[in-house]
Symmetry: C2
Subunit: 521 residues, 2 copies
C-alpha cells in the first residue's frame, strides 16, 4: 500500500476569485485558450504533486461492494475537495455502499452552473491476471505493456514525467484520474489567478461500475442542490486517434446471467455422456440462437425501440475519423461483426455481448465429466428509448421460445428440473436506459468550442459506446448531458492492466481548466 503525504496546502477560498462577466463566443474561446495555457504551465511545474495525489487515491481499493474501502475512498475525496475550499456533502448514504460525494464552489456573479460527473468506484479485479503489478498498487511503465513498456520507479520530486509513461492501476483511467484532473484544473486556475466563468459542482458516484442502483433516488431527492445548467461527464476514453472528444450521449446497459442445468451432480462423462444432457452444449446452442453469423441479434423486438439519429448526428458520424481498419489491425482480428458497418455506426445500435462463460474446467484442470451447469454472463447495451427491463423480458421470451423453463432470482427446484426438458435461470440487474443530448443546443456547441480552443482540435460524437447513468440527469433532473473524457482509449478499463497515459492526463487538466474558465453560451 502506497501512502504519499500531500505536502502542499490550499489556502484560497471561494472569496479569492474575482467576479466575472458573461463572455461572448470569441472571448469564451480566448478565455479557454488562456486557461489551458495556464493549466499547462501549472501542471508542468507540479507534475510530482499531481501524480502523487492520483497515486494515493488509486491505492485505495474501490470495488463498489467492498463497503469499508469504498467509504475510505469517499473520505479521501472529501479531504481532497475540502483542501480546495469546496463545500462537501455525502448524499444519501446507502448502507454497505459508498456515498455520492458532492462538492460545490460558487463563483460570485456567475450566470451558469456546470456540474462535473465522475465515479470513484472501479470494476471487479482478478489480481492474478495483472502483469507483474497489483491492481491497487499503482506502478509506472515507460509505455503500454503491448508496446513493450517496462516498469520504472515513480520519479523523484523535480524529475519529469514523459508523456508516453503510463500508470497501471484499477481506475487509473476509469474513473479516478478525471477526478484528480478536475482538482488540478482548479489549482491551476487559482495559481494563474484566473476566475472560473461558472459555478462549479462535482458529483462523484461510488457505484457506477455496479450499475448505480441508488444514484437516481439520491439525485431526485437532492434535485434542488444539484440543479445546474449542464452536466459534464468525465467518464470514458477520448477517440482512438488520440484527438480530444466531446460526446452527447451514453448507451444504457442491463446485465443478465444465464445458468443452464444438466444432471444434479457432475457425472463421469464415459458412463453418462451422450445421455445425461450436457449443459455446456445446451448453453452453446442457446447462445448461438441469439445472434446470426454477422452479429445481428435475433431476439424478437431487440431493435424495435431504436429511434433514428437526427441528420446532424448522422453528419457527425460521417465526419468522424475513419480508423476502423487501423484499430482492427492493432486489435488483431480478421473480421468484425456488423456486416461491414463501422464501429461508430454500430455503437448507435443496441448490443448483446457474452462477457463470460463458465462450466466446470478447461485445460490442465479439465475433468472428464458431464458438468452440472453452465453459465453465461451477458451485457446488453441500450440506445436512446430502449427500456432496460423490456429488453431483459425480450431475452427471457427468446429463451422460453427455445424450449426453456425459466426461473429468476432462485435455483430451480428438483421438481422443476425433473419436469421440464430444459431449465434455465436468468438473473438480471435493474440496468438503466441511454441518454442523448441534442448536438445543436447552444451549450452543446459551446462545450465543443471550448475543447477545440483548448486543444486545437475536437472529435464530436453523438453517443459514446460506453454506458453511464446519465439518463438520471437528462430525464429526471432535466439538464443537458455532455461528455468530455480525457483518458487514452487503450487503457484496458474493465479488465486487468488498466492504465492511464500521462500525456492524456496532462491534457485533461488543460481541458477541464478551459471548461471552468471559458465555458459560456
Amino acid at each position: 500500500m502506497i501512502r504519499i503525504g500531500l505536502l502542499f496546502l490550499f489556502l484560497a477560498t471561494v472569496e479569492a476569485y474575482p467576479v466575472c462577466a458573461q463572455p461572448s463566443n470569441a472571448s469564451s474561446a480566448a478565455a479557454s485558450a488562456r486557461a489551458a495555457a495556464a493549466a499547462r504551465e501549472y501542471r508542468s511545474a507540479h507534475q510530482h504533486e499531481i501524480a502523487a495525489e492520483l497515486r494515493e487515491l488509486l491505492s485505495i481499493p474501490n470495488i463498489a461492494s467492498d463497503a469499508p474501502n469504498i467509504q475510505r475512498n469517499a473520505d479521501q475525496l472529501r479531504l481532497m475537495l475540502e483542501r480546495r475550499g469546496m463545500r462537501v456533502q455525502f448524499l444519501a448514504t446507502v448502507p454497505g455502499r459508498g456515498p455520492v460525494v458532492y462538492g460545490e464552489l460558487l463563483t460570485p456573479g456567475a450566470q451558469r452552473t456546470v456540474m462535473f460527473y465522475a465515479h470513484y468506484d472501479g470494476q471487479p479485479v482478478d489480481p492474478a491476471a495483472w502483469t507483474d503489478t497489483r491492481p491497487f498498487e499503482p506502478a509506472l511503465r515507460t509505455h503500454s505493456i503491448a508496446a513493450g513498456g517496462r516498469l520504472i520507479p515513480f520519479p523523484a520530486a523535480g524529475a519529469k514525467f514523459e508523456d508516453d509513461w503510463r500508470i497501471y492501476a484499477r481506475s487509473a483511467s476509469d474513473d479516478k484520474s478525471p477526478i484528480v484532473a478536475l482538482l488540478a484544473a482548479l489549482d491551476a486556475l487559482r495559481a494563474g489567478k484566473i476566475a472560473p466563468a461558472v459555478n462549479i459542482k462535482f458529483i462523484f458516484d461510488g457505484e457506477e461500475e455496479a450499475g448505480s442502483p441508488n444514484l437516481e433516488k439520491t439525485a431526485v431527492a437532492n434535485a434542488e442542490l444539484l440543479q445546474s445548467d449542464v452536466l459534464i461527464t468525465c467518464d470514458g476514453p477520448v477517440h482512438q486517434s488520440g484527438r480530444a472528444l466531446v460526446f452527447y450521449g451514453n448507451r444504457g446497459v442491463v446485465d443478465a446471467n444465464i445458468t443452464v442445468y444438466g444432471p444434479v451432480r457432475p457425472l463421469h462423462s464415459g458412463h453418462y455422456g451422450n445421455w445425461a444432457p450436457n449443459p455446456g452444449m445446451r448453453l452453446a446452442q442457446l447462445l448461438a440462437s441469439m445472434k446470426d453469423d454477422q452479429g445481428r441479434v435475433r431476439i424478437e423486438g431487440f431493435y424495435s425501440e431504436v429511434t433514428a439519429l437526427t441528420p446532424q448526428e448522422q453528419a457527425a458520424i460521417q465526419a468522424m475519423p475513419a480508423n476502423d481498419a487501423e484499430l482492427q489491425n492493432e486489435l488483431q482480428f480478421g473480421e468484425a461483426e456488423g456486416a461491414g458497418r463501422t464501429l461508430v455506426e454500430l455503437i448507435n445500435q443496441p448490443s448483446l455481448n457474452v462477457r463470460g462463460l463458465r462450466s466446470a474446467y478447461v485445460g490442465a484442470q479439465s475433468q472428464n465429466v458431464v458438468p452440472e451447469k453452465a453459465e453465461a454472463s451477458l451485457d446488453m447495451r441500450l440506445v436512446k428509448n430502449i427500456n432496460p427491463q423490456r429488453q431483459v423480458q425480450r431475452l427471457i421470451a427468446h429463451i422460453r421460445k427455445q424450449g426453456y423453463f425459466v426461473v429468476s432470482g432462485r435455483e430451480p427446484t428438483p421438481e422443476e428440473r425433473r419436469k421440464y426438458p430444459r431449465v434455465a435461470r436468468v438473473d438480471s440487474d435493474h440496468g438503466y436506459p441511454a441518454a442523448r443530448t441534442a448536438m445543436d443546443l447552444p451549450v452543446s456547441q459551446a462545450v465543443a468550442r471550448v475543447v477545440r480552443a483548448a486543444t486545437g482540435d475536437v472529435v464530436l460524437m453523438p453517443t459514446l459506446g460506453g454506458s453511464a447513468p446519465m439518463y438520471i440527469f437528462e430525464d429526471r433532473l432535466r439538464m443537458p448531458v455532455i461528455g468530455v473524457p480525457i483518458v487514452n482509449y487503450d487503457n484496458s478499463q474493465h479488465s486487468h492492466n488498466e492504465n492511464l497515459r500521462i500525456g492524456h492526463f496532462w491534457r485533461g487538466i488543460e481541458i477541464y481548466a478551459a471548461l471552468m474558465a471559458g465555458l459560456a453560451w
Copy 2:
C-alpha cells in the same frame, strides 16, 4: 495427513499354498462360493485393518503429474504387495511420472494366469469444491451427501462399519479401493487356507487419468513378463441397480481443447461490443454446430467407423435392468439426449462431451468486456474400431468447415489473427481406442459364472461407458479383457466429493477372492 501404522504382519509365502487341480464348471462355482464366504468372514473380522490400509493409501495425493507424490504412491504399493509375499517390479519408469507397478504371485500347478489391472492415480482436484472435507484427507460419512450423510469419525478398532457408510476422498472409488480389495482378498484366502486356482499378476498404472501415455510402450516392452490368459480390469462402477457387474469392453477416449480468439486484449464492451468479434459467442456457435437438438453429433464421419454389435451383445443389452427413468429422476433432468434411446444403447456409440467452458468471468466477478478468448474442453468417447487421431481430424475438419483457420500446439501469430476471419486453436492428447472382448469366449462365461456364484447375481454388459486403455492388453498383448468392477455407481468419480460405499467395498473383496480361487475354464 493421516498415517496409520499397519500392525498386522504377513508371514506366509507362496510355498504356503497347496497345489490345485483344474476344476470343472460346477466345482468352479462351488469354489467361488466358498472363497466368497471365506472372504466375508475375513473382512467382517478385519474391517478396521482393511479400512486403515485404504485410508493410508488415499492420504497420498495421486495426480499423475505430481511426480513426487505419485512416486510415493508407487512406493507404498510396493510395500503393500511385498507384505503379501508378492514379487514386485517397477516397470519402465518415465521421468516425472509414476511407474507401472507390477506384482506376481505364482500358484504351483496352476494352468492359468490371471492379471488384474487397476490404476493408482486420480483425476485433478479442486479442493474448494469439496463439501467440508479435503480430497486427500479421507473422511467418513453416514450416507452419501445427497442422502444427508453426516461426517463421523472412523470407528475404533473392533467397532463395526455400517454398509451404507461412505469414505470420501479422491480415488476412494477410482481406483484405489479395488487395489486394497484385491490385497484383502489375498489375505482372506490365506486366512481361510484356500489356494488360488490361478497364477496371479497385478498391474497398477500410475497415469490412467492422464490418458496412460506410456503404458502401451511399457506393456509391449514387458510382454513376456505380463503374459496372462486374461486381464481382469477392476476400474469402473457396478450397475446403478447395485447388482454386481461384468463387462467386456471399454470405450476409448480422446480429449480436445478448443480456443477461439477475439481481440488481442479484452475490450470495454460498451465501446467495442457489436463490432469486435466476441469469442464466447463464436465458440457457442461453433459448439452448437457440432450436435443437433437430440444430441446426435453432426461432425462428418463421426459414426462412420462404428462396428455393429453382435447378436449376443445386443441380447445382453436387452437383458440389462431398465432403470433409466429411475436414474433420470435421481439425477433431476427432464429430458435425456439420444432421441429416446437407452443409456446402455448410447454408450455403445461414440460421444462428444463439453466437459468445460471458460471465457473471462461470470456472476459477481463479471466484467463488462469483450473477452480476448473463449475455451471449451471436449472429451470424445470412442467405441471399438474408431481411431482416436482420425476422430480428432474429423473434429478439426468440421471446425475448418465452419470457416476457421486452425492451429495446434501453439498460439496463432498476430499475422494469422489479422488475416483470418475466424481463428481457433485445437490441442488434443494422443487418446486411445476402445477394447471389446467377445462375450462367448469360455473365459468370458467363466468370469460371469464366478461373479454370479459369489454374489448370487450378475449384470452382463458388452461395453462399459468409461474409458481405460484396455486395447493395450487386447490388441498388443493379445489377451481377453474382462471388467469386474466393485464400487458404487454414485461415487462422484472424476469430480469433487468422490466416495466409496463401504458395503460395495466389502462385496468387492468377496468377488475378487472368488475370482482368485474359483476362476476356471
